[in-house]
Amino acid sequence: MFRIALKIESGLRYVGWLVLLICFAFFNSPVRAAATDVFAGQVGSLRISGGTAHIPVMKEVAKLIMEAHPDIRISVAGGGSGLGIKQVGEGLVDIGNSGRKPTDNEMQKYGLVLHRWALDGVAVIVHRDNRVQVLTRSRLQDIYSGRLRNWRDLGGVDKEITVFTRDQGSGTRKVFWKKALRKEVTTNKALVVASNGAMKSGVAHNPYAIGYVSIGFLDKSLAAVALDGVMPSLETVQNGEYPVVRGLYSNTKGEVQGLTKSFIDFLFSPSGRKIISDKGLIPAAR
């Protein structure tokens, strides 16, 4: 008898928990960010791919929207600018990001519409313990071409330089190659990574590494290198002192509409601009 009572009691406890859980699920309604109200009532999915410098902003915006509106699904993939342009052109994604302006050829072929929502710089980075934190562009060329192999020659420790570079489709690579390396060919001994994020963590965890990332990825875990005496930062990029700058683009095929339009519009809204500057980039006007 006692045993049965015990069983019932524990059973009840179960039910209690379940009820609590369900209440929790249904009444704990999310605090809706007013900024995403334009998405209210919209359903469907949005596919985004391409440039990896865009990812932190894209993820944050997607998170904000999806949390407030569970009926909307936004997927964010990397792949690089080249892939982004190609995929949006082929209709594989709704928004293709690129860290460079699509070429005229690309724009014509696919009928792309560009949305430049941020200004960005490409910063040279080293490990934060590295003593070498100032370089001239010709020194940088020496390092990336493989003519200069040891940090000792630059006043650093006696260790081989590990050169990081990006894959062929990267917009960051293209901008860096054109504006920082002045089209110097990169050594084929360089380690190749596939995204800004990978470049950042690769350099941050290797005391003898050098690489380059979007300034949005700069933080205390690594050291930015002053190029020709100019430290890469929001100000120097904005006032044009820092030489390696570019726009961040979100490209669509034809004029935007529906969910895609709302998403792009959000990037230019005050809350969108806030996210962009929170992520270390300079919001651009339409």
Binding site: L83, K86, E160, D167
Partner: protein, 290 residues
Amino acid sequence: MKRSVRVGRPLVLAATAVGSLLTLAIFAFMMMLGRPLFSDHSLNLLLTQAWAPDRGLYGIFPFICGTLSLVGLSLLIAFPLSLGNAILIHLLAPRRLARFLHQTIKLMTGVPTVVYGFVGIFFLVPLIREWFFRGSGMCILSASLLLAMLISPTMILVFLESFAAIPTAHIRALEALGGTRRQKLVHVILPGAKTGIITGLLLALGRALGDTMIALMVAGNATAAPESVLDSVRTLTAHIALVMAADFDSMEFKTIFACGIILYLWTALLTLSLRYIHYNSTKLSHDQTF
């Protein structure tokens, strides 16, 4: 009942046919999509040139070298390691320890390769970087060590199976002659397990050739052909994974189909040689019994 006879056979035959067609379709598709490579560029250039898209060179020679050196080194590490472990478990270790080792190795076959890669990046790479004067730690050596860990369990299990398959009569005969454990090993077990050892080696080779994640995460993916074990390399598999994320109308994108075809052919060759060895050994044992 009657109906199940009539339906059953065509049904399973259809399943077999679909499975086989898919297998062949893999090859056909890669040939189809990689065709421009064979017509525009001579195959020779593709296989011997360096990789420098900036200069219009789309050779995958460095990646072939990278793959072979990585796989070669990992086999060089894994083979003695596996043989030693197999001998230890089969012959030398006390029973309980042997069972423990055996279980551990079986468990190791289940470790996902991405986990090896993950631990490699955060544990092995910094170690290698500090131990050696040069290099970034993301190199052939680090990747081979991990790859050796990945393929050893497979090899050990095949070795053990072939050790166990040696007729006890042969071993008893040697024991009756007063043979020591070492003599048993040298005169009976190793010669008797020759086919099994080669089989294990080839299986492990196939596994190492086909692995993507360890090379992709740990070997550094540099596009130069390697000169030392501390150099960073890109394997054919990693090349596919990396360039896949590039613009797919370009010449470089098409090279990944060449990589795919090469990998397919290599593994097919391995499968065929395994067949051949197996066929020969069964024929041999057949001849012996009659």
